[in-house]
Amino acid sequence: MVKAVHYLNQFFAGLGAEEAAETEPTRLDGAVGPGRGLQAQLDGVEIAATVACGDDYFAEHEDEALDRLLALIEAEQPAVLVAGPAFGSGRYGYACARVVAAAAERGIPAVTAMHPENPGAGAAGRALVVPTQVNVAGMREALPVLGRLASALAAGRELGSPDEEGYLPRGFRRNRFAEQPGAVRAIDLLLAKLGGEVRSEVAAGFDRVPPPAPVQDLGTALLALVTEAGCVPQGNPDRLPTIRARGWLRYPLEGVESLSPEAYESVHGGFDVTLANEDPNRLVPLDTVRALEREGRIARLHDAFYTTTGNGTPVESATRFGREIAAELRDAGVQAVLLSGT
């Protein structure tokens, strides 16, 4: 028998309704409320503790609530965390999602349940979300699925597809062989679309990054150079990959006035680097920026440039590079960045 922890809000934990919505994170022994029904559906798993938090408290103190809840959960060393079901309740659903997402990030398998249109359904990260009806009338239907998935997670069983197992897709893209080649599927989808029925195998949608406001006064700004053009010292001493970089690099610029072709090159594998390698300032315009620095048009150039190859990089990795580089630049007091892309 392995241990589970169950997360509930104040209402389902029996602590009170709206008047108890400010309840701080708390621990209760064993299964409580819907946890009793859930326990009956678990196989080889025992609910050792219930942790609860008021919906308002969570919404108003999310970071603190998460830290305290995670501490309570981790103290139990559970094999699985279950949260909810939250049905259509937005605040409760969001709290369930954030708690299971945080647990999953820390390596605790986690599953919750809620209505697919609950705002929390998109906030559970790598944790599983079981779809339910919009209100508590769906409890009887939800608990067996929740119990089966929680038992599977606790046992470390490899899960099948969302359809097979009854959870909502999380956004991972896994391969399988379709019955027909892509060409035939494309013709089928096109004919359906010409007949008025639009279907797609990829539910696309893109983040659009709004341009930031202009820098108020460049004359007082510390400026940094950042590039995804794969610009590195000759010989690529740190072996930056030509495609699909897993990280970024920082190279000093102190005392460097211009990027000479003898000292720098581009290892980017996604464009013709001939012209870039004739004059690496075309990738990272150090020569021009040094001139602007001398003229006082910028206050100073940051003493290092940041580089990666932006080629075949997953959006999630690129986002991480951006966050990490931005954090360093912010700590260094940089106010403006010249970002050269290819």
């Binding site: 990260g125 790598r126 597809s161 969302p162 897709p169 999380r170 956004g171 991972f172 893209r173 896994r174 391969n175 399988r176 062989f177 379709a178 019955e179 027909q180 080649p181 892509g182 060409a183 035939v184 599927r185 494309a186 013709i187 989808l189 096109l190 004919l191 679309k193 010409l194 639009v198 279907r199 797609s200 195998e201 990829v202 539910a203 696309a204 949608g205 893109f206 030509t242 495609i243 594998g269 996604g270 464009f271 013709d272 680097v273 001939t274 390698n277 080629n311 075949g312 997953p314 959006v315 999630e316 990795s317 986002t319």
Partner: protein, 423 residues
């Protein structure tokens, strides 16, 4: 189908020559005859090549082939005209094909400075990767070329392509004295006007040497793209491959010769649709203006064929996905419905989208699979093509290999059945 749009370019729907039938005669793989002496003599004539190792490997052999550039189906024409013409016109009369056979060219380019680098390209004949690539179930004639001392990548690439196409003709010679098993006939009669007219927009890479496709031996950038092509020409060796970008997203010559999209459109002609033709479009336009202009010209070419709908394909990826998406938008704005085939490149451990580019008009997308998924480790007993992968790992013990390194695995002309689904 009634066509209801602002512009109506009433041009003939059947370009001159379209009514000519083209026949592909299939012969069994056991006719394959590999005369190493003749292949070596072809190599002797090429100053860029120092030699070639020739091996024939069959499905199920514990073999991994690496450093593959192109894959070509053996073809020969009984009338003596070249199977991969650089002048005249392909797609008329009869061509013989060896069914179930591919010629794989392998080469390790010299370490000289060059702007574009070939990417790793693998076929496994056994193990978990074998099913990912169609070549895992074919008999492969593997040509492992040895470059001449000091040869540059241009000269090496040209010699390898020339010899590979010549070998594909040579090994098909026994079909000239045999009876075909099957004859596929490609002919487009006038279709039922009530059926929707559908064209294929086939993108060809034109990024630079090692990332070029060729039309009648000419780099496609110099071939006046976008332009309409008789679909039979495509199936008959008019388009050949010199594009060595990501292996899974590559369009090797065999995929034009056996193009599933064009063959499916032929077979549906008169049934569920009218096949309006093929437009070759250019991938890797280099400026935003050129990309936009090319997309609009591709849409114009589709309109000129009278297309109500088009299937838009992609060659390689990244930059060229923007050409695909802009072409989709231009077609939709011209009143032509689109379906787009793209490979996804989603980190297997991440929940972020795997498309390089996307436009809101792309509402009908076929997934050719996630090229970033990792394939379980498999240890081949033998490696052909090169013992060390381009990333420095030993090919015989490479650990988990990403799908993108398997030749043709996520082909964006829809050649295979791989598909990424939401987890």
């Amino acid at each position: 189908m009634r066509r209801d749009r602002g512009r109506d370019l009433r041009v003939p729907r059947l370009p001159a020559g379209r009514v000519t039938a083209f026949e592909l005669a299939s012969f069994p793989a056991d006719l394959l005859a590999v005369d190493r002496g003749r292949i070596e003599r072809l190599v002797t004539d090429e100053p860029a090549l120092a030699g070639v190792e020739v091996e024939v490997v069959a499905p199920g052999a514990p073999v991994r082939v690496t450093h593959i550039l192109d894959a070509v189906e053996p073809r020969i024409r009984p009338d003596g005209r070249p199977a991969f013409p650089t002048e005249g016109r392909a797609g008329t009369g009869r061509t013989n094909r060896l069914d179930g056979v591919a010629v794989l060219s392998c080469a390790d380019f010299p370490g000289e400075e060059r702007p574009l680098h070939e990417q790793e390209s693998i076929v496994d004949l056994e193990g978990p990767g074998a099913a990912l690539t169609p070549f895992g179930s074919l008999t492969n004639v593997v040509l492992d070329f040895e470059p001449a001392e000091g040869v540059g990548h241009f000269a090496l690439d040209e010699a390898v392509r020339r010899v590979t196409l010549a070998v594909a003709e040579l090994v098909a010679e026994p079909t000239l004295a045999a009876e075909p098993e099957e004859i596929e006939r490609f002919e487009l009669g006038p279709g039922d006007e009530e059926l929707p007219a559908v064209a294929a927009l086939i993108q060809l890479s034109d990024l630079g040497q090692l990332y070029y496709q060729y039309l009648y031996g000419t780099p496609v950038g110099q071939a006046g793209l976008p332009r309409a092509l008789d679909p039979a020409e495509l199936l008959d060796g008019a388009v050949t491959c010199g594009e060595y970008h990501w292996a899974a997203l590559r369009n090797p010559t065999l995929f034009f010769q056996r193009n599933e999209l064009v063959r499916a459109l032929y077979s549906e002609h008169g049934n569920r649709l009218r096949f309006a033709g093929v437009v070759l479009t250019r991938g890797y336009e280099q400026t935003a203006e050129d990309k936009q202009r090319a997309a609009e010209r591709a849409a114009d070419a589709a309109l000129a064929l009278g297309a109500d709908g088009v299937v838009i394909t992609t060659d390689a990826g990244g930059n060229s996905h923007t050409d695909t998406m802009l072409t989709c938008r231009a077609c939709e704005r011209a009143g032509i419905k689109t379906a787009v085939i793209v490979a996804e490149m989603a980190d297997p451990e991440a929940t972020s989208p795997g498309l390089t580019d996307w436009v809101a008009e792309a509402d009908c997308i076929v997934s050719a699979g996630n090229a970033e998924e990792l394939v379980d480790e498999w240890m081949p007993a033998r490696v052909l093509g090169g013992e060390t992968l381009l990333d420095g790992t030993p090919a015989a013990a490479a650990g988990r290999v990403p799908v993108r390194n398997y030749l043709g695995a996520t082909n964006q002309m829809g050649q295979g059945a791989l598909q990424a689904t939401a987890w």
